[in-house]
């Protein structure tokens, strides 16, 4: 009757522990690797946001000094960019400090004013670019007719009203042409929710003096 014990006994006689330990070790290694990769990836994702937000705090005080009359105030001593304007969107409660230069090193810390285009709030076409997932995350909420306010270094506030919103190709550089009415051109990447950077499309808002 109790013959069923036999197989169990036989099974138990097999030294199953070392095998288990091997799998366990492997699993632990996988878990450690996954945790490390996860922390690292989260860290780099957070890093981008952290520096984007921390930088704006430092830039705010640099902007105060700029409005007070200093020129090209670097927010931290080794920065290669400085605030050139303050952009606000009253309806959305958005405030951003615009940095000089629309290259990668400036855009990491704030929206950037493209060199060679008119200065924000001045005559001509002023192009400002920003990352859709950090400083320009408000772009999707901007509506035609919204008011944009640019505060210049001399303290003067210039008001614009959003006229058009377009999805363009990155090669459509005519967007940066200076001819035509004075305007503010805001550029960010499109689609807004794309996971990866570097896509070919751009979301472009044109705002005209109001």
């Amino acid at each position: 009757m109790k013959t069923t014990d036999l197989p169990i006994g036989v099974e138990a006689a097999w030294p199953d522990r070392p095998a288990r330990r091997g799998t366990e070790r492997l699993l632990v290694a996988i878990i450690v690797a996954l945790v490390a990769a996860g922390v690292w990836q989260m860290g780099s994702g957070m890093w981008i946001h952290a520096k984007a937000h921390l930088a704006q705090l430092l830039i705010a005080s640099a902007w105060q000094r700029t409005v007070a009359g200093e020129v090209a105030v670097r927010p931290w001593p080794w920065a290669d960019t400085w605030p050139v304007a303050k952009l606000t969107i009253p309806r959305l409660g958005v405030e951003r400090y615009v940095l000089s230069g629309a290259d990668g090193s400036a855009l990491a810390f704030g929206p950037g004013h493209a060199t060679g285009t008119a200065r924000p709030g001045e005559r001509g076409n002023s192009v400002i670019a920003g990352h859709r997932d950090t400083h320009f995350d408000f772009m999707r909420h901007v509506r035609i007719g919204d008011e944009l306010v640019v505060e210049r270094a001399d303290g003067l506030r210039v008001r614009y009203r959003v006229g058009t919103a377009e999805i363009l190709d990155r090669r459509d550089i005519w967007v940066m042409d200076q001819a035509g009415p004075s305007r503010l051109t805001l550029v960010t990447c499109y689609p807004f929710d794309a996971l990866r950077a570097g896509g070919p499309q751009r979301y472009v808002l044109l705002a005209f003096l109001s």
Binding site: I31, L34, M42, G43, A50, L54, G116, G130, V187, T188
Partner: protein
């Protein structure tokens, strides 16, 4: 096994674990974020964040012309006999619409092409082009255009850039312009190569103190890739090759070809798939079987009572001597036009060159686009560590921005430091600039005892810049069009850099023979390179003596000139060589008026297109009715193969980071880890 309670605790564990992991991630992110600000500037160079969208080159406009431009197709037939090439280029302009058109087509030819014939065929009529001073030709053409007569004008913009203008092409009509030129095949290290450029790549035109005055004439509109609408500016090619002696293998580097062999010394080569897109240079190369290799060749032509001769002599190879003590500066073009395939070729070429350096050599690397910067402040010894640092640095470089080559050249030529060593500058670029003359001046004035070697990169390198810069820099040049060629071509170039050159090469002409020889001063010869001179002689008599110094030995040889191989076109080659030499004189600051008069006289007597002389052909009677409008339109060109349009013409700033991807990946990893942990616990 008691599964119930265990499951509960495990779930609690998982939640706790996840929470902890997320907190850890947050903390790490914040920590890194604050560190980011401290470590700011250099760290973001490699961040795939965004780039400046400034206009890098002349804007191609908001699109194509409002009305359809004429379609162009080109048929080229090369007749190669020995080292001489006669090429016939037939351009067919087709008006696709119901308006009368003027076509303006900017295209390249080999930099040493001597263009000496032009014809215009419209319908039944065949008109022979006449050579005129450029301004006069232009006036004749303009008058014909206004009066409705068919006409064509053929100008030289650069030694390798030409413009064909055709006026009054009728609705739906075809007009054919035929040009012919002569040049010599490049021979180097027992390899003959015939190169035919197909497109003028967009040129960077620096602003500043010396803007390029003829910018508009060398920058045709460029079709956006994907919006070409069937325009390929198709080119078909036929090469009739007669080497005069048994041929070794033939190789077409970038286009598949069909080869017929009527005899051991002859080949007929055609493009295998018919016409190809005009966006990639054609290069055909061949070797002769070694035994048949001649050491010297002498070609003669009698024209207008004068004898013209072309001499080619190959100095025998030399055993490699003791290694030279060198200081090598690599200058790498990382401008927008190098983006894509070109920068990969250049990086690879640089890696090959670095690997060949000996530890005793010194080196440095300079990269330039809108600005120039060097790897080390001063050249360093080529230790394993330094070389690896260089390879790492170079692989991190991205191609974007302008081509401020002048700054890079100045930086490189000023940096050469150790006067004891042989100074060599290796310049890797596609030469996509319009200010060649300004750069040549810098090379001439600041080279000192250094030598400049150019490596032409990509599908449409600027051959004029490559060859002339190397010539002025007392160095030599090579072309690389794809990564698979890097090993062989760089190997050949580096072998030259490592071998002693033959200096002070002299050609003594027989007594009693008056010879006008161009080039007047024979450049130093690198291993494998032939001596090439052209001469105009009053009689053919006696033998000439050639000598040169190489390492510690004096080499000399004698070539009889009474007996020469008859070849037509030698006179044109001599005149072309003289024009090039006079243009060099001009670059040295001699008043233009004098040189110009000499070049015009020479070009008129040899019917040669130069910077100052053009071909013009005009029909006698008007074709376009009075009252019908004439539309003038440039023929748009293709972007050279492998180029990135956005990197050349600029693009809008990039407005996104990879933060979301990172966060998503991070969370997924942590979730997976939690699941794995849960599973482990269960099993336990």
């Amino acid at each position: 096994m008691q599964t119930g309670p265990l499951t509960r605790t495990t779930w609690q564990d998982v939640v706790a674990f996840l929470g902890l992991a997320v907190l850890l991630g947050l903390a790490a992110g914040l920590l890194l974020g604050s560190m980011a600000l401290l470590l700011a500037t250099p760290a973001y160079a490699d961040e795939r964040a965004s780039r400046e969208g400034a206009l890098l080159m002349m804007s191609p406009g908001n699109g194509e012309p409002a009305f359809a431009a004429p379609l162009v197709s080109t048929d080229v037939v090369f007749q190669v006999s020995g080292p001489l090439v006669r090429a016939r280029v037939v351009q067919t302009f087709e008006n696709p619409q119901d308006e009368w058109l003027e076509a303006v087509y900017v295209f390249p030819l080999p930099e040493n092409a001597a263009v000496d014939r032009m014809k215009l065929a419209a319908g039944e009529r065949l008109l022979i082009g006449e050579i005129r001073e450029r301004s006069e030709a232009k006036a004749i053409y303009a008058q014909a255009r206004a009066s409705g007569r068919r006409a064509s004008l053929f100008d030289q913009e650069r030694p390798n850039i030409f413009t064909t203008q055709v006026a009054n092409i009728g609705p739906r009509e075809k007009v054919v312009v035929e040009i012919e030129y002569q040049h010599t095949i490049r021979y180097d290290g027992n390899r003959f190569s015939l190169r035919f450029p197909m497109v003028v790549g967009p040129r960077y035109l620096p602003g500043g103190a010396r803007p390029v005055s003829d910018a508009a004439r060398i920058t045709p509109p460029v079709l956006k890739p994907g919006r070409e609408e069937g325009r390929t500016n198709g080119v078909s090619i036929r090469v009739e090759l007669d080497a005069g002696m048994p041929l070794g293998p033939l190789d077409s580097a970038y286009h598949p070809v069909a080869v017929e062999a009527p005899s051991p010394s002859r080949r007929i080569v055609t493009l295998a798939g018919g016409a190809v897109r005009a966006d990639q240079d054609f290069e055909l190369s061949w070797r002769l079987s070694d035994a048949a290799l001649p050491r010297a060749a002498w070609f003669v032509e009698k024209k207008d009572g004068r004898h013209y001769g072309l001499l080619m002599v190959v100095p025998p190879p030399l055993e490699r001597g003791p290694p030279l003590s060198r200081e090598v500066l690599f200058v790498l073009d990382t401008s927008g036009s190098m983006a894509g395939a070109s920068i990969r070729q250049a990086r690879e070429a640089l890696a090959v060159a670095l690997a060949r350096l000996r530890p005793e050599d010194r080196f440095n690397v300079i990269e330039f686009n809108s600005t120039a910067q060097s790897l080390f402040a001063v050249p360093r010894e080529a230790s394993e560590r330094n070389r690896r640092a260089a390879v790492r640095w170079v692989s991190s470089l991205e191609a974007r921005g302008g081509t401020e080559m002048a700054a890079a050249l100045r930086l490189a030529l000023a940096q050469v430091s150790d006067s004891e060593r042989l100074r060599q500058v290796v310049f890797l670029t596609d030469g996509a600039v319009g200010n060649e003359d300004e750069l040549f001046e810098i090379i001439r004035a600041q080279l000192g005892s250094a030598r400049l070697f150019t490596v032409g990169i990509g599908s449409a390198p600027n051959g004029h810049f490559m060859t002339k810069a190397a010539h002025l820099g007392a160095g030599t040049f090579t072309f690389i069009g794809r990564v698979s060629e890097v090993g062989e071509r760089m190997g050949a170039l580096l072998a030259k850099l490592e071998s002693p050159v033959m200096r002070d090469v002299q050609v003594r002409w027989p007594r009693g023979v008056h010879a006008e020889v161009w080039p007047a001063r024979i450049p130093d010869l690198y291993a494998g390179e032939p001596l090439v001179v052209t001469a105009a002689l009053d009689k053919l008599d006696g033998a000439l003596a050639i000598s040169g110094d190489r390492a510690a030995e004096r080499w000399s040889t004698v070539v009889p000139i009474v007996q020469g191989t008859r070849a037509s076109g030698v006179g044109a080659l001599w005149a072309r060589e003289k024009v090039a030499s006079l243009m060099d004189v001009l670059r040295r600051g001699v008043a233009e008026a004098e040189t110009r008069a000499e070049i015009v006289a020479l070009a008129m007597s040899h019917r040669l297109v130069t910077k100052y002389t053009s071909f013009v052909a005009v029909d006698a009677s008007p074709a376009r009715p009075q009252g019908a409008d004439l539309l003038s339109t440039p023929v748009p060109t293709l972007l050279p193969a492998g180029w990135d349009y956005a990197k050349v013409f600029g693009e809008l700033p990039q407005g996104a980071t990879e933060s979301r991807l990172s966060l998503l990946l991070g969370i997924s990893c942590l979730l997976l880890a939690a699941l794995a942990a849960f599973w482990t616990r269960r099993r336990a």
